[in-house]
Subunit: 511 residues, 2 copies
């Protein structure tokens, strides 16, 4: 029961991935007009910091390493190219209109900061389907390696759980724990929830209302359905599949999730429009220093053959990802230095695969949602848009964390795609015949972030988090790493709110 899902589930339990209660934009009134601020990085955190400071009257300049704004808010479409550390370059071959989001790809309903700014900046959202009862669960060592529909597994797991608890209640073995009244309540609940029959058994006729019929009910004289048979209980309990049954119930994956219409970078583009003229791209920061009067940032200007330049401002918001920042000459206190060095980043890989047609919809009635597997690819996610369309479509053919991601990051892009195809074919036999082209993004090989996102441990959180997120002199850090909502865009935005709030308090003399 290892694998990325278990890892991710463990991760969310450490508080990396939960809800927020953002209510409104920060109040930065009373700024001295023209107070200068340098923002390092034009990802969502940097852009939001720049946006809020700029409209509060600060004089803001944003320095960005890449030739685009957005950072990990990123969408790849046909014609895009990307070059990773080591020099491998991929040119995306997707058909017009198709895309993959190699970074963030879904937005929980309780991430109210990003939803707020999407609404404010006019970004259209549509539901992202997380749970699909008709998608597959696949475990190499269970059911002979044959993928099973979520509805079959979840229905049987619930039915047998209800049956066993009913039996225990009826055998009086929980009488020390539950009163007679509660025992009766539980028996009733198990029957309703588990679809048990009058005798408290989980059987084909009722089970089929959840797991589906072998022959579905139809119309006409011979239209009666043929119920399906539950799997043997011990097979269900032994399989690694039940680990996936509750995944969609975690806070971050509950309904209703959203995605921007047209690709996640619709958000980055909307943010960029709000700070038009403030960002300079293609600048590589090499050092950050500060004294009592301000912050000095040294950078290579790759618009001018790498000429070394400096920029000065009264304050600085630094959103550079920690693995990169840790390599720069940053003059901060020893504890801040230690904090910057303390947080490892996850090595994540995503593979986008374009197929000639939506075989998952046309052949298998899967519209959006996720199939899980214990293979390295971990998940396969079907597009939550363009349902029923003809022509080529892109699915997420793998999304790896941990050892699987290290493995895939060590392969060439083409090898990653081939591996994802081989593993995916265990779930969809149409893979070889329908495959068109793919792209594979290894985040540890992206030079501008050197990893997917921060992975705080409980110990490092205790030792370093407060230092990392507290303004030091004239410098304050932001980014998903500077939050308890790590690995989510929401964390980046909330960190920016915290950073500009601290900066403003300092600037107006209250902090």
């Amino acid at each position: 029961m290892a694998g990325s899902v278990a890892m991710y589930q463990a991760m969310t339990r450490m508080g990396h991935a939960t809800g927020t209660d953002f209510r409104q934009s920060p109040n930065l009134s009373g700024a001295a007009p023209g107070t200068t601020v340098l923002v390092l990085g034009a990802g969502l955190a940097g852009m939001l910091a720049a946006y809020e400071l700029n409209r509060a009257g600060y004089n803001v300049r944003v320095l960005e390493f890449q030739t685009r704004s957005g950072g990990r808010n990123y969408t790849l479409r046909g014609g895009d190219t990307l070059t990773e550390l080591g020099g491998a370059t991929q040119k995306v071959g997707f058909s017009p209109g198709n895309y993959i989001n190699p970074g963030p790809w879904r937005i929980p309903y309780h991430h109210q900061a990003i939803l707020h700014y999407c609404k404010a900046f006019g970004v259209a959202l549509e539901p992202f389907i997380e749970l699909n009862h008709n998608a597959y669960l696949h475990d190499t060592a269970s059911f002979g390696g044959v993928p099973q529909r979520y509805r079959h597994v979840s229905s049987d797991f619930y039915g047998y759980t209800a049956e066993l608890l009913s039996k225990a209640i009826n055998q009086k073995c929980l009488d020390q724990t539950v009163s007679a009244d509660e025992a009766a309540d539980i028996l009733h609940n198990m029957k309703v929830w588990g679809l048990l029959d009058k005798e408290g058994a989980y059987t084909a006729r009722l089970a089929s209302e959840r797991r589906g019929f072998d022959t579905p009910p139809q119309a006409g004289p011979d239209g009666a359905g043929v119920p399906s048979q539950p799997f043997p209980r011990a097979e269900i309990m032994r399989s690694g599949l039940s680990q996936y049954v509750g995944f969609h119930m975690l806070n971050d994956f509950q309904t209703t999730m959203f995605q921007p219409v047209g690709g996640m970078d619709m958000i980055g583009r909307a943010f960029a429009r709000q700070i038009d003229g403030l960002v300079t791209h293609n600048l590589r920061v090499s050092a950050i220093a500060q004294d009592d009067t301000g912050v000095t940032v040294t950078y290579e200007d790759h618009n001018q053959a790498g000429a070394v330049q400096t920029a000065k401002a009264e304050y600085c918001v630094c959103t550079i990802p920690l693995p990169v920042l840790n390599q720069l000459d940053v003059r901060v206190s020893a504890p801040m230095r230690a904090a910057i060095a303390a947080v490892p980043y996850a090595s994540s890989v995503k593979v986008g695969l374009e197929f000639k047609r939506r075989f998952w919809e046309e052949d298998e009635q899967i519209y959006g949602g996720i199939s899980f597997t214990d293979q390295q690819i971990s998940v396969m996610s079907y597009p939550s848009h363009g349902y029923f369309e003809h022509g080529p479509a892109v699915l997420l053919g793998g999304y790896m964390f941990g050892p699987a991601a290290w493995d895939f990051a060590g392969m060439s892009p083409e090898e990653r795609i081939q591996a994802a195809l081989a593993q995916g074919a265990k779930i969809h036999k149409q893979y070889p015949a329908e495959f068109s082209n793919g792209v594979a993004v290894a985040w540890s090989r992206m030079p501008w972030t050197l990893g997917c996102c921060s992975q705080w441990s409980e110990e490092s959180r205790r030792a370093h988090y407060r230092t990392l997120t507290t303004m030091e002199g004239r410098l304050v850090l932001a980014g998903e790493h500077a939050s308890h909502v790590g690995c989510w865009q929401e964390g980046a935005l909330l960190s920016a709110v915290s950073a500009v709030t601290q900066l403003h308090a300092r600037a107006v003399g209250a902090g």
Copy 2:
């Protein structure tokens, strides 16, 4: 634990509401061109029968009672009027773009016939959100009548179920039932699925990853979250709320469900376009007779002051709802007569309420999905479209079957709306301040159907179903009532496929 949901759940268990395996349009090749067919009723069943027969070369005419096609495929928008039995007339006051679907409103992913024709006829579909973890469950006698979020109830119900079964396993009381290996498997599964701690207990820290935090994790130095406390186990088990926990797992409500963009009648309109010129509206059928040469239908033509007319054809497909058909002079065998009389129709009421703003989204972070209550209104469904929009929006403020529907049908439309408002205010305190206008449709008072849909019992199914769905002479019935997928548009379409297939076989001499 009575109420409409329990009734509906019971109903689905009788096979009224399950999947289909439609693959393609019926093959009606070899028809003698010009063979005449009368189709009675321009609902989905009648329109599909007409479409398929017409393109197979039959000479088809459709007689429709109403001044519109679509039947129960029906959408109400601002400016629409409807008059029910008894004469009460409602004029819908919704703002432009808003609508309610008083009949069918959602499409399961496995209803492949309707999905097929939506695709073929160019009807755009979007996800319908059935389950919303952040919506409410409300039981007048539980939790002091205070509505609780689905995520709180489901998380606690699952956690305590897992905790109790683990305890029973650990106390060895299921050793007669499960082997030592399976016992270990079950303990592991309960821990993962139930979010139990190392000791097998369901506690605040882990529970919060599903039920949510009291103070959600944020960014900045003080961003740690505060876990929420589970409800007491006995309170969860005693409440009527756990009956709702598994509702969305029934075949008909599993993800991914769909709705047409813009209203359910986009489907009826698309069907109508396919049979342009074949339908005459405003005709009231009064008698159906047949002999060896053909079928004669007598009707009042309300385009001509009710003048009595007859129409003749070689064959007839009758889709008139059974409560109406049962009142006509239909010359069929005694068993068919008995079958027509045998099937009662559900009395269902739907209430559409327009509010000045989307307070459920803006104040409560509920985007689509359903809240359940044990009050008469039974459900409250938030629109699965127009998320985040400003301005007025319409929600489904009640959807009743059984005694609640009889009660509401006995009220005036205005009384129904007032009752729905009073009950809904127990769940959303914003109701009185934000209400704008409403409409309430009692299906038992719709003169053209006299009920919502067929309610076969197992006994009537055994006694009458084969007769009702088998072509008799030159007459064959269709409609959702002539299927095992009753109360769904899918049943209507599949019944039409069955009817035209039988008719064609008869016409070409094979049947």
